[in-house]
Every structure is written in structure tokens, then in C-alpha cells.
């Protein structure tokens, strides 16, 4: 029986010629990731090991991105703990203020994630790197600690759902709309424990940034990973960003899938997820009159250059509505710089938005845009759970950068063409 793309990568990393869904394996890791929230717990766990060494100082990435620049004394203590650990073990890829970015935008940009890799990260959105044809998945801090010490992790080989993408999306439809549509269709546990394998001729119509967004939110359908085949666009991205060699895996033609869906990208409309689950989707034309208080454009889901470009296109020569706070967060220093050179930051600031240094801040209700009781935010982030961005009586609406920017202008959830 054939293997899926994910199964082939896992088989190779486990040193096996074949694996089957449900099989428990131990796989070699190419990268172990942690951030300023999850790494301190992992570092504490590391103390329990009989060995004090990390498996490879180049294959660990520690990114200070959730609560930095530090929001309070406790978060500063956490970053200090990670900084000292990175220094002690001479960790090559330690990214602190000045070099940091939001981890899942930063690591591909730094060339640390390439096709064929097996990557674990103590952050649920680690599944992002599937856009480049890597197997990557979120884990907790103990798995991260074990990964840092041994360079290995145990996995239950997942079965897969195949998403056949066909057609070309219209002007205002982005990767975010594709993945929100899929989550709306299969639910927040629709891919529980499974791989989401994206295939089809429609993929050529999706930019790398669109693909990162789609793979990023696989976890919001419960998926173990999301993965794309490696095409010319993905190869040119890796060649531009990474000196590492990569390996391209393809699903066998007789690979088995639990379910198969075909999605015509040309039929999709801009989509919004209503509170309090990413599966509560409506197309923007069905959203009705939803007034908002705040707009967030950023995060590991939608803080990349394409996202800022489309938001700027919508906001150019327009004003953010009176009383609306519009917060734009470029995901990395490189994206920030490029957005500045392209004049995007000027457009944001002239429109009445603010532009922040990279941070996960508001997405998880950390800081930089916390909501009060009864307030509503339209956000390009990935979760709209109860209390995620602040007060338990606040509301989050998930959308693309184009919809978020259009809504900033009108003060209510709006389609970009309005």
C-alpha cells in the first residue's frame, strides 16, 4: 500500500522503508523550536535529564516573540532564563529583540526550514512549515525538552485527508479565506490527529505567503500537520532563503486517504469566522451589520509581506474610521524593513493605523491590543476563542488582511470591494 507525503517523510526520519497510519515511530529531528512562553518550561524539564548537553546547537531555534519587548517583570524573567540557556549551550539560532520575528514567519525567512525536514516546535502553529514540504508539528514543552536533549521524538503515524485545490482565486480571496472555508466545512476537530495534504493544479495560483497561512491554520482543524507538494515556487523560495539542501517527497499514487475534498478556489468568497470558534464561518457578504472597535493585522498567520501589501492597497488614501484602533504588526524585522522601503508603513500611518515591532502580543491576549468587556475586534490572527484577546465578554472575528483593512475604514465588517 502506498504512503502519503507525510508518511514518506516520517518513514525516512525513522529509518524505515515503510510506515502505516497508527504505527508508533521514533524519528530524527532536523529542528526543535521554542518561544519565550514554552521554552522556560522545557529548560526546567531539561534539568531532570541525566545528561546536560543539547543534541545539536545548530538544530535548536529559540525565538523570543510572544511577550517581547517584555511586557512585565515575569515575562522578562522568562526571556532571561532562555537567554542564559542559549548562551550556556551556545545555541546558534537564538533570536532576541532586534533579530527576532514571529517564529513561524522568521524561521522560513532565515532558511531554517526546508522540504523533507522533520520539525517539532513548542508552539501549536509549528505546522506552518508544511508550506515548504516539511513535516512540522506543534508539541508541548516536555517534548521540546526531550527533542533538545536527544534529537528525536515519538510520533503516531497519521492518516490523512486530501484537499484537491483547483481553479484560481479571485482578486480579494487569499490563503486565509481558503483555510477558513476548509475549517468551516470540516470543523475544528475535522482533521483531528490527521495530516491535511493539499494537492492540485490550483496550488500554482497560491503565493508562498498564502500557503504559509493555509498550513499555519491546519491546527485549527485539529490537524497534526498541513503539507503542500514542492513546486518551482517553493524551490525558488528555499534557494533564495536557505543554503541547506532539501529533499522533495511525493505521495504515492496509491496512497490511502480517509477523506478527499475538491475545492474550487474560483468559487470562494472572502470569509470571516465569527465568535467563538474558527469553524463559525460566513462569507463576508453574509456577515450582516457587525460594528467593531479594533482591527489587528499581523501574527504568524497573516503578518507577512503579501498580507501587508494587500492591507496597504485597501487603506491607501483612506482613513481608519473614527473610534477604531487599527494595529498593524509586521511579523519580522525583514518584513518591517521591506514594508518601509515599499512605502507600506507610510500608508498605514497616514491612514490612522499604528505599526508595531514584531510580536505575537494581541493574538493571544498578551498585550498590545487587549479588548475590554463587550468590545469586538476583526483580526487576521488564528483563534477567536472566548477571552483569547482579552475580556471573556469580548469578541474576535477572524478574517484576511483585505477584509480587516476594509473593516477598519468602515468601522464594521466589510468586503474589500466596498
Amino acid at each position: 500500500m502506498g504512503m502519503t507525503m507525510t508518511q514518506k517523510i516520517l518513514a525516512a526520519a525513522a529509518g524505515l522503508s515503510e510506515v502505516k497510519a497508527g504505527q508508533l515511530i521514533e524519528a530524527k529531528l532536523d529542528l526543535v523550536l521554542g518561544n519565550d512562553i514554552t521554552s522556560p518550561v522545557a529548560i526546567h524539564e531539561m534539568d531532570k535529564f541525566t545528561t546536560d548537553e543539547v543534541f545539536h546547537k545548530d538544530k535548536i531555534a529559540l525565538v523570543m516573540d510572544h511577550f517581547v519587548p517584555n511586557k512585565d517583570i515575569k515575562s522578562a524573567q522568562h526571556c532571561k532564563c532562555v537567554r542564559e540557556f542559549a548562551c550556556k549551550h551556545d545555541i546558534t539560532n537564538f533570536f532576541d529583540v532586534g533579530e527576532m520575528g514571529i517564529e513561524h514567519a522568521l524561521l522560513p525567512e532565515k532558511g531554517l526550514t526546508v522540504a523533507g525536514d522533520v520539525i517539532i516546535g513548542a508552539d501549536s502553529h509549528t505546522c506552518t512549515y508544511g508550506a515548504l514540504g516539511a513535516f512540522s508539528t506543534g508539541v508541548g514543552s516536555t517534548d521540546m525538552a526531550a527533542g533538545m536533549a536527544t534529537g528525536k521524538a515519538w510520533f503516531k503515524v497519521p492518516s490523512a485527508i486530501k484537499f484537491n485545490l483547483v481553479g484560481k482565486p479571485s482578486k480579494w480571496v487569499s490563503g486565509k479565506d481558503v483555510i477558513l472555508h476548509i475549517i468551516g466545512m470540516i470543523g475544528v476537530d475535522g482533521a483531528l490527529y490527521k495530516s491535511m495534504e493539499f494537492v492540485g493544479e490550483g496550488i500554482k495560483n497560491l503565493s508562498m505567503d498564502d500557503r504559509f497561512t493555509i498550513a499555519n491554520m491546519a491546527i485549527e482543524a485539529g490537524g497534526k500537520n498541513g503539507i503542500f507538494p514542492v513546486d518551482e515556487l517553493a524551490e525558488s523560495y528555499m534557494k533564495e532563503h536557505s543554503a541547506r539542501s532539501y529533499k522533495i517527497y511525493q505521495a504515492d499514487e496509491d496512497a490511502e486517504y480517509d477523506e478527499e475534498y475538491t475545492i474550487d478556489l474560483s468559487s470562494l468568497k472572502p470569509t470571516v469566522a465569527f465568535p467563538h470558534l474558527p469553524e463559525n464561518t460566513k462569507t463576508v457578504d453574509q456577515a450582516g451589520e457587525v460594528k467593531i472597535d479594533q482591527v489587528v493585522i499581523g501574527s504568524c498567520t497573516n503578518g507577512r509581506l503579501d498580507d501587508l501589501r494587500i492591507a496597504a492597497e485597501v487603506l491607501k488614501d483612506k482613513k481608519v474610521a473614527k473610534g477604531i484602533r487599527c494595529i498593524v504588526i509586521p511579523a519580522t524585522q525583514q518584513i518591517y524593513l521591506q514594508a518601509m522601503e515599499e512605502g507600506l508603513l507610510k500608508i498605514f500611518i497616514e491612514s490612522g493605523a499604528i505599526v508595531s515591532t514584531p510580536t505575537c502580543g494581541p493574538c493571544l491576549g498578551g498585550y498590545m491590543g487587549i479588548l475590554a468587556e463587550g468590545e469586538r475586534c476583526i483580526s487576521t490572527t488564528n483563534r477567536n476563542f472566548v477571552g483569547r484577546m482579552g475580556h471573556v465578554e469580548s469578541e474576535i472575528y477572524l478574517a484576511s488582511p483585505a477584509v480587516a483593512a476594509a473593516s477598519a475604514i468602515t468601522g464594521k465588517i466589510s468586503a474589500p470591494e466596498e
Partner: protein, 162 residues
Amino acid sequence: MKASGTVFKYGDNVDTDVIIPARYLNSSDPKELATHCMEDIDKEFVNQVKPGDLIVADKNFGCGSSREHAPIAIKAAGVSCVIAETFARIFYRNAINIGLPIIECPEAAKGIAQGDEVEVDFDSGVITNKTKGTKFQGQAFPEFMQKIIKSEGLINYINQKQ
């Protein structure tokens, strides 16, 4: 090994943001985390929970963030076992890795209500609802995961292997 206590019952998709809100993630101290456990979904939980009590939930318990702080907070609050129809996969891993017993059992999730007295036998996977006098067969862990749980977590298991 057995667990026994009173049940706190929740519905579908209990996410890690309500189990332990991110505003408290500037701490990694289990005791401190436990004082905010379930705060955004059930303010009374921390006042009422006693050592040994159980959480029972419906589908996709622990969805969302990978924060290990979520099972840590539940364990430190004194909860002896979480039973659910299904678990989100990162939470599932994390619970095993830190030694918080969890059991998938759709029938038990349906047949147990808030406040019921429940006993779980981890060796047999049998869940007994003492209040209603009913029994359910929970899914047993694969041998590999049993070893991790018996070693009281992944790190000890790896240490023992080496």
C-alpha cells in the same frame, strides 16, 4: 492504580485558552497556574475542586495552543484524571508527557454528569459512575504510552532507557 472523585463536566472544544488564559502565562509555576485553572469557563472550579476530582468533557478537549501549562494547571489543581469523547492531539501528548492520566471514552462522556462520583481503574480502563451505578470501558493506552505514564513522564522514561 485508581482515581476517584467528583466530576466537573464540560462540553465540546474546551480550549487551552480557557483552561489557562494567556494573561497568566508569564508564570510557569504549577501552583500559581492552578489558581487560574478553568477561570474563563468556570469561575467556581478553583474554589470547589478537591484532590482526586475528575474532569469529564465532550469532543476535542484541550484544542488550541500547545501550552503545556494547560495540563500542568489541571494536574496541580488536584485533578486525578480527564475523561473526554476526544482530545486535541497536542493536549493528549502533553498530558501523557507530564503524567496526567487521560482517557478517551465517548460513552462515559455522555453517561457522566456534573457532580457525579466516578472511579477510574487505569489498569483495566474501566470507568465506574458510582452515582448512577453504570460502568464504561475506556480505551487502554498502547504499551509504549503506559511505560511513559508509569515512569511518571517522558523525561524519566528517556532517562531510564539510557
